[in-house]
């Protein structure tokens, strides 16, 4: 029997095991690396953008709608601005949007969700009903309304989306809390007389961290989608801001004769969102959590 003297295989443990899993998932690696690149480019934009001034108010109508060429790698837009430079600066805005939105959503939604799940009863009813109201209006619609109510501009649109987004975190935290609540260690520490706050945020919260992480990664992408959509509908960033959604909105007027002003910004959005999703997907498998 030859296979008994095969080389000894070692059972992988914990992190290494996870990492192997993750590394098996090439897609999520691609996603992660693209995001890293995007962040770097966004940070370095002022230094690497070929025409930094084009991201601001500068206009060069003498070279408007030039197709991609060596001097303008991605061509120029309707006001003769270098699209590549604007994309680079746009990355800052989109990433910032994701961060702002998710921060608001997280710090509003999660505590509410945990409270609702932990206390149950009236608190549960009130909070979750409100969440229901919010979630029965499509995110884009509500965000649009809020950002118009706050008078349309970039910051307001971010706030608006955050204001809409809390509900999904609330739901998630609520569900998780309900299940974790039943675990013995919670019951025991309750019996030991730990304060509710302690239990909620020192014991329950850490136990849903992985789920939340996955949720954050996945939602970052969708937040960007909503944000750009709102700018596209004209209730978000206003010109000459180099915002991707806005760039598409302006570029569309020159289709089909000039395809580059609308193609590339869209690709940028798509790639960013996709890589957030890929990464989130990988993390989901990694932690083996389910996030709808």
């Amino acid at each position: 029997m030859n296979d008994e003297n095969e080389k000894i295989q070692v059972r992988k443990e914990g992190i290494t095991r996870g990492l192997i899993k993750l590394s098996r998932n090439r897609l999520s690696l691609i996603g992660a690396s693209f995001l890293l690149a995007a962040i770097l480019l966004a940070l370095l934009a002022p230094w690497i953008a070929p025409y930094p001034e084009d991201a601001g108010g500068a206009v060069h109508f003498e070279r408007q709608l030039k197709p991609p060429s060596f001097s303008y790698l991605l061509g120029t837009d309707e006001s003769g601005r270098d699209i590549l430079s604007r994309l680079l600066y746009g990355a800052r805005i989109s990433l910032a949007l994701a961060v702002v939105v998710l921060t608001i959503a997280f710090f509003v939604g999660v505590p509410l969700g945990i409270c609702a799940g932990y206390y149950g009863g009236k608190v549960d009813q009130v909070i979750m009903r409100i969440a229901d109201v919010f979630s029965s209006i499509p995110a884009i619609v509500l965000a649009l309304a809020v950002s118009v109510a706050l008078s349309p501009n970039l910051i307001n649109s971010m706030i608006a989306i955050g204001f809409v987004w809390w509900r999904s975190f609330c739901r998630l935290a609520y569900g998780e809390t309900l299940s974790i609540k039943q675990e013995n260690f919670i019951l025991s520490s309750k019996s030991l007389g730990a304060s509710d706050l302690h239990i909620m945020f020192r014991e329950i919260l850490p136990n849903m961290s992985s789920t939340l992480l996955v949720k954050l990664t996945l939602d970052a992408g969708f937040a960007i989608l909503v944000g750009t959509s709102i700018s596209f509908l004209g209730a978000g960033a206003s010109p000459p801001t180099a915002e991707w959604g806005l760039m598409v909105a302006y570029g569309r007027h020159y289709l089909p004769y000039a395809w580059w002003p609308s193609l590339f910004p869209g690709l940028a959005i798509f790639a960013t969102v996709l890589s957030f999703n890929l990464l989130g997907d990988g993390l989901r498998d990694f932690f083996g959590v389910e996030v709808e």
């Binding site: 619609v141 109510a149 959005i269």
Partner: protein, 332 residues
């Protein structure tokens, strides 16, 4: 009993929505009335109009007047189209509904085989491919994919119209769904016309749900595979086709039903962008305009209708779920 509770709860949510939106749009800066009366309207007539629309009363009074209006089937005059919002919605809702239903149907039809196949060929190349596809599907900014579809099919290949719902005369209105009406009236040119107009926006709109449903079905199918009943039916020699497309799929699909329910709000939202891009004459396009132009009656009206649609769909879906999966029924 259960039914009644659900109904009551639906009402609750809808009332909540109306309140939320009402407050939201009423705080919008700028004086919509001045706009309604036209430029150069003197202060007096503006005042009169404000009183007439009761805009100077406390917000809760206004709200009750609004609700009372709804009971009379009025949603207040839209400042975009200068007629009662209810009428506008009556005109435009079918268009949106047709679009969304078409997209969902397309999504489900494509999702089932994709999901099943990638589950059966788990960890194969096809599977990875499908996963990637499904992730791509949810990553498109629809306003952009819409434009790209226009660019490719509308301009380059030039076999789909760019915008609109129909270019010829619309078919005699029966259901308000052009596809159905045109068939009922044997108006085949109109049918084709409507179909080609519908194709592009429906496709764009179907990408996201397609991705999600495929994904879900795949996951559920994989769960089902490890179930003992599969072994038994295999052992009794049932063919793989029946096992996967009947036994497993039924189990795998009923959760997908709820997912479809959840997708509806997303679809309604996405329609706001897609209808804009394709100049689709539906309520979503009107809603977007109403919201961005401070048309407070229009905005509340549309949002209200949409959220009603959302709540109702979820309700229906839950009931349907019960039918598809006896476990639920018995639990109740």
């Amino acid at each position: 009993m259960h039914f009644l509770r659900r109904l009551l709860y639906m009402m609750l949510v809808i009332v909540g929505v109306s309140m939320l939106m009402f407050v939201l749009v009423r705080v919008i800066p700028g004086d919509p009335i001045a706009k309604a009366l036209g430029q150069g309207a003197d202060a007096a007539s503006i005042k009169k109009m404000r009183d007439q629309m009761g805009l100077d009363q406390p917000i809760y009074i206004q709200y009750f007047r609004y609700i009372e209006g709804i009971t009379r089937g009025q949603l207040g005059m839209s400042l975009v189209e200068y007629r009662d919002t209810a009428e506008i919605i009556k005109d435009k809702f079918p268009a949106t509904l047709e679009l969304i239903l078409a997209s969902m149907t397309l999504a489900v039809i494509l999702a089932i085989p994709l999901g099943v196949v990638s589950a059966l060929k788990r960890n194969s190349l096809t599977d990875h491919f499908n996963t990637l596809i499904s992730l791509i599907g949810v990553s498109f900014p629809q306003f952009w994919s819409g434009l790209m579809v226009q660019l490719f099919f509308g301009y380059i290949l030039a076999f789909l119209p760019i915008t609109g719902r129909i270019s010829g005369p619309p078919p005699m209105a029966i259901t308000q769904f052009f596809l159905i009406d045109s068939l009922l009236t044997l108006n085949f040119p109109a049918f084709w016309d409507a179909l080609v107009h519908l194709a592009a926006p429906a496709f764009v709109l179907s990408l996201a749900p397609l991705a999600n449903i495929t994904r879900l079905i795949r996951a559920n199918m994989i769960d089902e595979m490890s179930k003992d009943y599969i072994n038994v039916s295999k052992a009794t020699g049932m063919p793989q086709a029946v096992i996967s497309f009947k036994y497993m799929l039924r189990n795998a699909f009923s959760p997908a039903m709820t997912m479809i329910g959840f997708m509806i709000p997303l679809q309604m939202g996405t329609a706001f962008v897609v209808e804009q891009v394709f100049a689709w004459p539906g309520i979503a396009r009107f809603g977007a305009e109403a919201i961005t132009t401070n048309d407070f009656n229009g905005a509340v009206g549309v949002t209200l209708v949409i959220s009603v649609a959302v709540v109702v769909t979820n309700f229906i879906v839950d009931e349907l779920y019960g039918v598809l999966d006896p476990r639920i029924k018995l639990r109740r």
